[in-house]
């Protein structure tokens, strides 16, 4: 955006809008060029940034769903970390944030979020059971904005860095790493009840990490009959899915939760699980998911049933 009907402004005038992230890419570039030249401007930018953060600290905190943490932790093992900024740092005017902004909201992140299926107030999206098609390309690590002085650690930079970025696109070792993820579900209840627990947990964690890393990962969020947040994540390509439920009530010892794939052929049992009642209960389903399958959860006698004997407490359409 250019100033249509205005006199030339001094770049220093952009300091406020810059700290508030209210500039477009062109103006950001102009301002960062200015920063590169002026120590005083850098000091002001740092102070105004701190001021903006003070505004942020005045906002009332909001507790995230338990599933968000469980999901994040499952992704760490397959998410490589950047090395420290190589020294000496690229001198000269900071590169703008623009290239990053283009990839912007989609960078880095595997798309699955166990977000609440809370009714959306403003956006026009369907309030429940909404299906997000995955944004893929878990790559392109977005350069980290230089938050203090804006002198440009944001440079998308050197060939080496770009190579690094490319490497990020294919965290090929995620399968190996995912085993380590098993150790992570400290916060969530994880009580699949077969086999020897460790091996089972590893498989489960690897499955969840795999879904999260899949380039066609999708999710559907809804609520159970009793109002708990429930999320289905799946990959049609991999043919696997997982159900995550927040604060699912614990069952008496003679009952289990059971998962089902439901399609034209009927209901196919896909494993049982328990819940401790708080945190996030989740399980990767046994068997193969086919595109369009429904996924349901019922309460069954201990050990599970061949066919559902009760109405589902929650069902998803994939």
């Amino acid at each position: 955006m250019t100033d249509r009907n205005e006199r030339e402004l001094h770049p220093a005038d952009l300091a406020g809008a810059y700290a508030l992230h209210a500039l477009d890419a062109t103006d950001v570039a102009a301002f960062e060029a200015h920063l590169a030249e002026s120590e005083q401007a850098r000091i002001e930018a740092a102070e105004l940034n701190d001021t903006a953060v003070a505004l942020g600290l005045a906002v009332a905190p909001v507790q995230p769903s338990a599933a968000l943490k469980a999901n994040l932790m499952s992704m760490l093992a397959s998410t490589p970390q950047l090395p420290p900024v190589p020294a000496p740092r690229a001198a000269g005017p900071a590169t703008t944030d623009a290239p990053a902004s283009v990839s912007g909201a989609t960078s880095v992140v595997a798309p699955v979020t166990p977000a609440a299926a809370e009714p959306t107030e403003v956006s026009g999206e369907a309030p429940t059971a909404q299906v997000d098609t995955a944004r893929t390309d878990p790559a392109a690590p977005r350069p980290v904005a230089d938050i203090r002085s804006g002198t440009g650690s944001t440079s998308p930079g050197s060939a080496a860095e770009r190579a690094q970025a490319r490497w990020f696109k294919r965290p090929a070792q995620f399968l190996l790493a995912a085993a380590a993820a098993a150790a992570l579900f400290v916060g969530g209840t994880f009580l699949g009840q077969t086999l020897n627990t460790n091996q089972f947990e590893s498989q489960q964690a690897a499955g969840l990490a795999q879904i999260n890393a899949a380039d066609d990962a999708q999710r559907a969020a809804t609520t159970t009959a009793d109002g708990q947040e429930a999320t289905l994540v799946w990959s049609n390509k991999l043919g696997i899915s997982a159900v995550l439920v927040d604060n699912l009530p614990a069952l008496p010892s003679n009952q289990d939760y059971q998962l089902w794939y439901i399609n034209a052929e009927g209901a196919v049992p896909a494993g049982t699980f328990d819940s401790s009642g708080d945190g996030t209960a989740w399980r990767v389903l046994d068997g193969t998911m086919h595109a369009g399958d429904q996924v349901g959860v019922t309460v069954e006698p201990n050990g599970g049933s061949d066919q559902p004997t009760s109405n589902p407490i929650v069902a998803f359409q994939s």
């Binding site: 955006m1 205005e6 005038d13 952009l14 300091a15 406020g16 809008a17 508030l20 992230h21 209210a22 500039l23 477009d24 000091i43 740092a46 102070e47 105004l48 940034n49 701190d50 001021t51 903006a52 953060v53 003070a54 505004l55 942020g56 600290l57 906002v59 009332a60 905190p61 909001v62 507790q63 995230p64 968000l68 943490k69 999901n71 994040l72 932790m73 760490l76 093992a77 998410t79 970390q81 900024v85 912007g104 909201a105 960078s107 880095v108 992140v109 798309p111 977000a115 609440a116 809370e118 403003v122 956006s123 026009g124 980290v144 904005a145 938050i147 203090r148 002085s149 400290v186 916060g187």
Partner: protein, 198 residues
């Protein structure tokens, strides 16, 4: 590595004081997942609170919060303590990400423009969870009263509404150049009122 060995979530040797966010971030930079979990517990509600303030929609806000924490995980090694506290680093990233989401999504553009015009006071509709937040809020609210009406509106729209300077100009019916100077003057006044200086 020494700093990794200090992490012993299962052990009973846990230090008396909880680790600072800066310490945690340093451990995260070395791939310490339990430090990441701890850092998350400490600051995720702040991050989600801020993001939701801008995006309104809860599900979308959790999604962006997830992106932010993955960025923290990925780029922890690039955090430089000499340049500011961990909260500053994280909340700046959070605000930028929320703004990116608004700019990049139609949902963002379709937001009722009224949400940007809300006062800080209105935004603060739930009672603060902690004394710390309440004090911070009162301090900021007081500082805000020192701004001119136009400065206050422009700063609120840009920061809490996530609007660009040209959107702010449209909404307030003032020239873009005026918005730029109001944003700068307003923030400088806030800086002085809040005693932020390096």
């Amino acid at each position: 590595m020494l700093d990794l060995m200090t992490v012993d979530p299962a052990g009973d040797f846990a230090s008396v004081a909880p680790a600072t966010k800066e310490e945690l971030l340093a451990r995260v930079a070395h791939g310490d997942q339990s430090a990441f979990g701890e850092l998350y517990d400490q600051i995720a509600p702040r991050v989600l609170g801020l993001v939701k303030r801008l995006l309104v929609d809860h599900a979308q806000s959790e999604e962006v919060t997830q992106e932010i924490f993955l960025e923290i995980w990925q780029s922890a090694a690039r955090y430089e303590q000499s340049r500011g506290g961990a909260s500053t680093w994280i909340l700046t990233m959070a605000h930028r990400r929320a703004v990116d989401r608004i700019r990049s999504s139609q949902a963002g553009r379709d937001r009722d423009t009224k949400i940007g015009i809300r006062d800080l006071a209105v935004a603060y509709d739930h009672v603060a969870e902690t004394v710390e937040v309440r004090l911070e809020h009162e301090r900021v609210e007081k500082a805000m009263t020192r701004l001119t009406e136009l400065q206050r509106q422009a700063v609120s729209l840009a920061y809490y509404g996530g609007f660009s300077h040209s959107e702010v100009a449209d909404m307030l019916h003032i020239p873009l150049g005026t918005v730029k100077t109001r944003l700068r003057d307003g923030l400088i006044r806030l800086r002085d009122e809040l005693g932020v200086a390096s």
